[in-house]
Amino acid sequence: MEDAILFLLFAAIAVVCAINLVVQTHPISSALSLVGVMGALALIYLQLGGEFIAAAQLIVYAGAIMVLFIFVIMLLNAGKEHRVRRRLWVSYAGVPLLAAFIGVAAYVIERMLPPSPGAKFGAMTHGNPQEIGRSLFQVYLLPFEVTSVLILIAILGAVVLARKEVD
């Protein structure tokens, strides 16, 4: 029972932060809401037994990628977004259509997922770093090496694009 209460708490935090991300006008409030979403998701991964993924989410996503976003927002300092004038039916039909879409998706998920036992904290023991290491370096070795080349390409691209023009 405490699993369900904890899940509902973290899910509520994630959804509130995600709504805040979409609604806020200043990009830095959106960025901090996204950090909140990632923190809540890291706790949900911990509940699903993915302790390495939870730690990687905190270290890589919330601790490095989002800091990069916040740096760029602070450096560019572009300010809040202006409100845009929308047609009347668009502003009234937006949120109900979103809710209807989520409802349809939830119904399809409920019908299509084969019956499976629920999630209990501690039932999955394979998420530890030993298992991930074994799998990453034996079964998924080729994708691992390819992603390291991908990161190298990304570094080169970022350095070339952000370089100052040499006169």
Partner: protein, 399 residues
């Protein structure tokens, strides 16, 4: 039984929090005294004997000072930034083990708040999240000096996280675990019966280079001299905390000292063997704390005969008696088994903190571009080469 677990955890958390917060205040006293003696002066000596009540006076001053909220700051982030800085600095103490199991009657509990089996990753993640406090403080202050100081400080912290993570990864290759308790247990035992199996002495590749890289990266992560350009008082008008006063300013300093303590604990656990003693207990390493404290008592008594200041005729003998009492506690066998690992761990952490303060009194500070150059062109390649050599040594010597 789960209720029992909650009660015990609550008691341990309260104890650790209390000890940590008091220690943070007194580390500042030690720093001021040591820096003063390095610079041939005396340091605080008016408030209480030898200035021992100076941290209390500082806390009272900071709490009762008027807390100004400038009108040009972004209020939500201005309040959030010191909160985030202190929160992530204080949470990391939860996975640090201080000693072995404590057995009182039939009840035993480890001297640690929680033993995550990804403890090392937890500490790395939290030090990454601590960057947000600094960056938000610079942004919220709405002040160009604060913004530049905040951006420089956070860029420095991120750049030095990489060599630190590589320096942490090297002993993990030899010890094969991410949980702190298993790391320290893997450093138990002795070579040839005498040399301890700490990481810096352990085959197949002694981790001396990793230890040095980790210490240098830790100095930069915690924004301490010689890497403290973004927050020194005479550079950039004190950097990212220029618009903060009284309690929020104290929060940033508490966060800095808490980070220092965490990083010293991690260094002691990963490289110096945690609570493992320097030589085996059979050869008498159980008497080291007794000798140290009895020696301190002797020094106090010998100085009390001809004191430099008149009131020292009273305070020095009192300190001497207190030290003799502590030496006596270490002779009781029941207390000694609990306190001896704690003593070795605290001694190692204390030595690393002393090195922090010693270097602050000795070295000048780096300029910002020299600092970033040092991270990316020297420290990061050294850390990578060290990791590579360690991995090669482990792969060649494992069965």
């Amino acid at each position: 039984m789960i209720f029992n677990f909650f009660v015990v955890s609550l008691i341990k958390s309260a104890l650790v929090a209390f000890v940590l917060l008091t220690a943070l205040a007194y580390i500042q006293w030690v720093e001021r005294k040591v820096l003063a003696h390095i610079q041939l002066r005396v340091g605080p000596r008016r408030v209480g004997p030898h200035g021992l009540l100076q941290p209390l006076a500082d806390v009272i001053k900071l709490l009762t000072k008027e807390d100004i909220l400038p009108s040009h700051v972004n209020k939500f982030f201005y309040f959030l930034a010191p909160f985030i800085a202190v929160m992530f600095a204080l949470i990391s103490i939860a996975v640090i083990p201080f000693g072995t199991e404590v057995k009182i009657g039939s009840f035993s509990t480890p001297m640690q708040l929680t033993d995550l089996n990804v403890g090392v990753l937890f500490i790395l993640g939290l030090s990454g999240m601590g960057v947000y406090g600094v960056a938000l403080a610079g942004w919220a202050s709405n002040n160009k000096y604060a913004l530049i100081g905040g951006l420089r400080s956070s860029a420095q912290m991120i750049s030095y996280e990489l060599p630190m993570a590589m320096a942490i990864a090297a002993p993990l290759l030899m010890l094969n675990s991410l949980s702190f308790r298993e790391l320290v247990d893997g450093q138990g035992g002795f070579f040839l019966g005498v040399i301890p199996r700490w990481s810096i002495f352990q085959g197949p590749f002694p981790q001396l280079v990793s230890f040095l890289v980790f210490l240098v990266a830790a100095f930069a992560e915690t924004n301490r001299v010689p890497f403290d350009l973004p927050e020194a008082e005479n550079e950039l008008v004190a950097g990212f905390h220029v618009e903060y006063g009284s309690m929020k300013f104290a929060a940033f300093f508490m966060a800095e000292y808490a980070n220092m303590v965490t990083v010293s604990c991690v260094a002691a656990l990963l490289f110096l063997g945690g609570w493992q003693p320097l030589w085996p207990v059979e050869y008498g390493s159980g008497f080291v704390p007794v000798i140290i404290f009895a020696g301190a008592a002797l020094i106090c008594f010998s100085h009390a005969i001809k004191p430099a200041r008149p009131f020292d005729r009273i305070t020095l003998p009192v300190f001497g008696v207190v030290f003799l009492g502590i030496a006596g506690i270490f002779l009781i066998p029941i207390a000694a088994t609990i306190l001896l690992p704690l003593f070795w761990f605290l001694a190692k952490v204390g030595i690393i903190l002393f090195i922090y303060i010693w270097i602050r009194g000795t070295l000048p500070r780096f300029r910002y571009d020299q600092l970033m150059n040092f991270a990316w062109t020297f420290l990061f390649p050294v850390a990578i080469v060290n990791l590579f050599v360690t991995a090669l040594a482990v792969a060649l010597t494992s069965k």
